[in-house]
Amino acid sequence: MMLMPFNGRMTEQDQSVPTTNGSEPPLTDLLTAVATSRDRTAFSALFAYFAPRIKAYLLRTGCEAGAAEEIAQEVMITVWRRAETFDASQASASTWVFTIARNKRIDAFRRNRRPEYDPDDPALVPAESISADNRIEVDQAAKRLRAAMNDLPPEQRELLRMAYFDDQPHSAIAEASNLPLGTVKSRIRLALTKLRKGLKEEEE
């Protein structure tokens, strides 16, 4: 697949917690309404927000238009089916939907299942301190993460887009963009350090 340079299709300004439009409830509430009461109106609002973004993501990763439309629909059906497993104290709605879209893309492109650990596996080594994260903290962390992303230098931001949207590991990105592997690695590390710091920091 060809490596596409950043073509300005993404906007830099939106730092607020995303809603389907200014007056509608936050995505988390919509997802909770689907989980608890199979609310089709809430689902339609989620569809309006996410389906065009999932389609854009799939197109950017090299998916052809018809398949992108089809997989985006599959992702939204999975959102409906698995809404009960969404845990607002663990991840934002967008993060949860991203992981579903990513896994569907892997299923469809590579024809393999995505190996993932099972959080209920008796062999899993648990975290030493169970974090007291709650939903408000997750929302605020998401907001801080977006702010931290907007503060990234352009070359680090561009590298993140390539990493997530070009379906190539960092080693292949180095080759395709004629950057030394060490430069790619250090930019990714720098970007992640800043973003993780942004995720953790208390409200300024």
Partner: protein, 235 residues
């Protein structure tokens, strides 16, 4: 603190957090979904044993969520929502469950998910094939991946012949331990070897070392004995 294990596996440290981790670049590749199935399998199996790397992957997933928020949307087809709504009646809200049912005495499970499902068994039922004295292996079937993945059992105190790698090699310790010039590796620890790394792992003296190994190119044995063995080793 250790606990007794059946089937010749001496002991497992109780919930030890690993000290040898994956790089952030590899964890990002995993979160972005851009590594092959074999690499993803060994990374995910390390994640089961490593809360530290899980925290990094969660942060990387959140970056993916934020990138999805800010991507410029592409309009979906006119009838798309209606088509999906019409299909919701057919789908029950089935929460997918893990295909592997934990057996009785599940505290004895050595191999974590997702590797356990690929093996379709825990460690005690693996069919080992001898490679050389003190070294056995068992292929881990992954149909879609060009990378080689296998379990390796190094006998207590056995030194694996000195070798380098044409590509990269990832080694995750499942039980026992080994040492090389980079340090001591025990359950949960993962070693990533680049082509330039030449190493000679030696298993701990007191028990067999069992590892899950993913290689993306054949090994090249470099020691005097190793050079003779090269044609026979199908790593």
């Amino acid at each position: 603190m250790t606990r007794k294990m059946p089937n010749g596996i001496a002991s497992l440290p109780a919930h030890r957090v690993p000290t040898h981790h994956l790089s952030e670049e590899l964890l990002l590749d995993y979160a972005a979904g851009s590594c092959g199935e074999a690499e993803a399998l060994i990374i995910a199996t390390h994640l089961a044993l490593c809360p530290d790397c899980r925290a990094v992957v969660e942060a990387c997933d959140a970056v993916g969520g934020a990138l999805l928020d800010e991507i410029a949307p592409t309009a979906v087809g006119a009838g798309s929502l209606e088509a999906v709504l019409a299909r919701l009646d057919d789908v029950t809200s089935a929460v997918e469950t893990s295909p592997f049912v934990a057996p009785r005495g599940h505290e004895d499970i050595v191999v974590p998910e997702p590797l356990r499902s690929y093996l379709a068994t825990d460690l005690k039922d693996v069919a080992w094939k001898p490679v050389m004295r003190g070294l056995d292996e068992a292929a881990v079937p992954i149909c879609t991946s060009p990378a080689k993945s296998r379990l390796m059992r190094i006998g207590a105190g056995v030194a694996v012949p000195r070798h380098t790698h044409h590509g990269s090699e990832m080694t995750l310790v499942l039980s026992g331990g080994f040492s090389d010039n980079r340090g001591h590796f025990v359950r949960g620890d993962i070693a990533v070897s680049d082509p330039e790394v030449e190493h000679r792992p030696v298993a701990d003296a007191d028990e067999d070392c069992i590892c899950f190994v993913v290689t993306d190119a054949p090994l090249k044995l470099t020691g005097p004995i190793g050079r003779l063995l090269n044609p026979f080793v199908r790593f």
